[in-house]
Symmetry: C2
Subunit: 369 residues, 2 copies
């Protein structure tokens, strides 16, 4: 295999399968797969847009999930009465800031990337907690906290003894993320705009999503999307496929279940082949089997990092995306980007919560990445 | 060494050095150190009274402590402006219910003991979190949440890379714990009333403490006290010594620094000898050196449990007390009680936060305790 030239600095943009960036130089020669875009044009390596959520995490037995009609491993949207009912019955919990794209952005910052986040919380205790945590992680976060309306969104997460997480999300204030919350200047100044599929659930947020994608492309930037959840894909399959096929999304993240749901097949190879036809660049994570990087050049498998003990899978996909995006922003090879993703995912599943507990930059250095 | 007979059931009371319980049978014969009190007389094995606190935990470097004038390993009381200043500058945090005695009581419940807690939180988000977490742990908690006044207390905890924790406590609503919050019936129905030394800081809580101790002794129950913190001992040395000498406290928990502060000596042996003169039963924890059990019979060392990696020492003393109290309530030998304490302490320092992440009952069973 030929080794691509790596850009040593965060802030460069990679060649991700075909030449689609108007301002890009000529196609790379020989063994060069990466091409560099001057760092100075991007103030942020990545800006994430997603639901601002605080996680409320407790351990539970399988029976609890069954007794409460929860789909193990999935994410269900819940209303306030159900939120209260679940909280009343779940075990002692810990509160940690979460939100899928927010976790990814915090992960990217932990790798040393310049990162920003857009998402809606309320000006209440949990909202101030969310804002503190993301800023303290080094992320620029300027979305105003809502003065009224529903409380800050929260996700009640039950972690079963096998480490699997089952999520129940009360969106609260997050559903009021509006197109005007998306700062055009920040999007234009970000090499990559990263969006979570969950944004497709609240109506206003969907409009914010569309606006951000349009702004990013108008500035010659990349748009990345995570499919978030197989049930979410089930709700919005046609629209997600249109986003990918129509070029609104340049980089797609999915896990195996989401990919199969997208193409309504139980066969991974069939789904991956369909994906290869439609996506510019996609990464499909497969838990302990690692991931595959899919583009017009082919389908390349990359191994997972070994994990001593899976404590809590919450955030595994989010952190994988963090590492991969950082790799893209550094114009690293897709293999290196995937290894950065796998490393970050391995860190986060080794403890409770979806935010890294250690510096991913230092961890990557330890692993020669 | 003679092996004491163990009571197999939680709910029995131990012989802790001399016969001071009016209703107790004759002194044990031969190798029997434990004597049993009928289970039916106690509805709870232990009731704890302490500050109701939610912990806000972040990792920090030593420089952060120095830059903010914090005493590493200690607990400082802070006012609201300082609380905001610290929070603004500390790293991403996680929120977990805490409070010294509350942690102990949750630990006791995790061992399968029947447990209750008395402490003051406000009816705000953190207060409802505190109430949820302690009840979800199986603890009876009936102290009404305050409708007004200061917010629920919180402790900003900085964990340095060596796992040591440095605490900054905004007492908030906790300082309004009043004597009338102490339910006479609950105290009378509890085999052991456990009090934290930190209660001596807020004026009203001190009165609640005195009332609880008097009620417990009036019902022929035991009173236990944790010295909490060396600086706390420094503030209240004479009063704490009076509590121990005067018989208000039957069982004393301290760590080495607290003991040395109590007797104002740098020499452990000197302090332990002084303690033996004054205390009925005391346990002094010495981190990785284990603990010593001190009573009129002598000073007996018990080893610590090996710990793979010290992640966060928060709650080590609290959980040690939990195990020891459970041992006392089961009329186990002091050695077994200390081993239960050491086991619980080892569990809690292996992860962030001061509440056990696993069933201590199951863990004890795994270790044949």
């Amino acid at each position: 295999m030929t080794r691509p030239t790596k850009a040593s600095q965060v802030g460069a943009l990679p060649w991700i399968g075909r030449s689609y960036i108007g301002t890009a130089p000529a196609l790379p020669r020989g063994d060069r797969r990466a091409m560099e875009i001057p760092v100075s044009t991007a103030r942020y390596d990545v800006v994430g847009i997603g639901n601002a959520i605080v996680d409320v995490i407790a351990r539970a037995e399988e029976d609890f999930l069954i007794g409460h009609g929860m789909h193990k491993g999935g994410m269900q949207l819940i209303d306030e009465p159900r939120a209260h009912a679940i909280y009343d019955e779940m075990g002692p919990a810990i509160e940690i800031s979460g939100g899928s794209a927010a976790n990814t952005i915090v992960g990217a910052a932990s790798f040393g990337a310049r990162a920003a986040f857009v998402g809606k919380a309320k000006d209440d205790e949990l909202g101030r907690t969310f804002a503190h945590d993301i800023r303290a992680a080094g992320v620029a976060f300027a979305t105003p906290l809502a003065a009224d309306g529903p409380a800050t969104g929260r996700c009640y997460i039950l972690v079963t003894p096998d480490g699997e997480r089952t999520m129940n999300t009360y969106l609260g204030a997050a559903q009021h993320l509006a197109p005007e919350d998306v700062d055009a200047e920040v999007i234009a100044a970000s090499a990559i705009t990263y969006l979570e599929g969950y944004l497709w659930d609240p109506r206003n947020a969907k409009e914010a999503f569309r606006r951000a994608a349009a702004l990013a492309h108008a500035a010659g930037r990349l748009v990345a999307l995570s499919l978030s959840d197989a049930f979410c894909v089930d709700r919005w399959r046609d629209e997600f496929r249109d986003l990918v096929r129509g070029g609104t999304v340049d980089v797609l993240f999915a896990n195996e279940a989401e990919l199969k749901s997208l193409y309504q097949t139980a066969d991974f190879a069939t789904a991956a082949a369909a994906l290869r036809q439609e996506a510019r660049l996609a990464v499909v994570t497969r838990s302990e089997q690692g991931c595959v990087v899919v583009n017009s050049g082919g389908i390349e498998p990359v191994a997972a990092f070994p994990v001593e003990r899976v404590v809590d899978t919450t955030g595994a996909g989010d952190l994988f995306a963090a590492g991969f995006l950082v790799g893209l922003a550094r114009a690293a090879s897709h293999e290196t980007a995937a290894r950065l993703g796998a490393l970050a995912a391995a860190e986060v599943i080794g403890h409770l919560g979806a935010r890294p507990e250690t510096s991913l930059k230092a961890l990557a250095a330890q692993h020669g990445l």
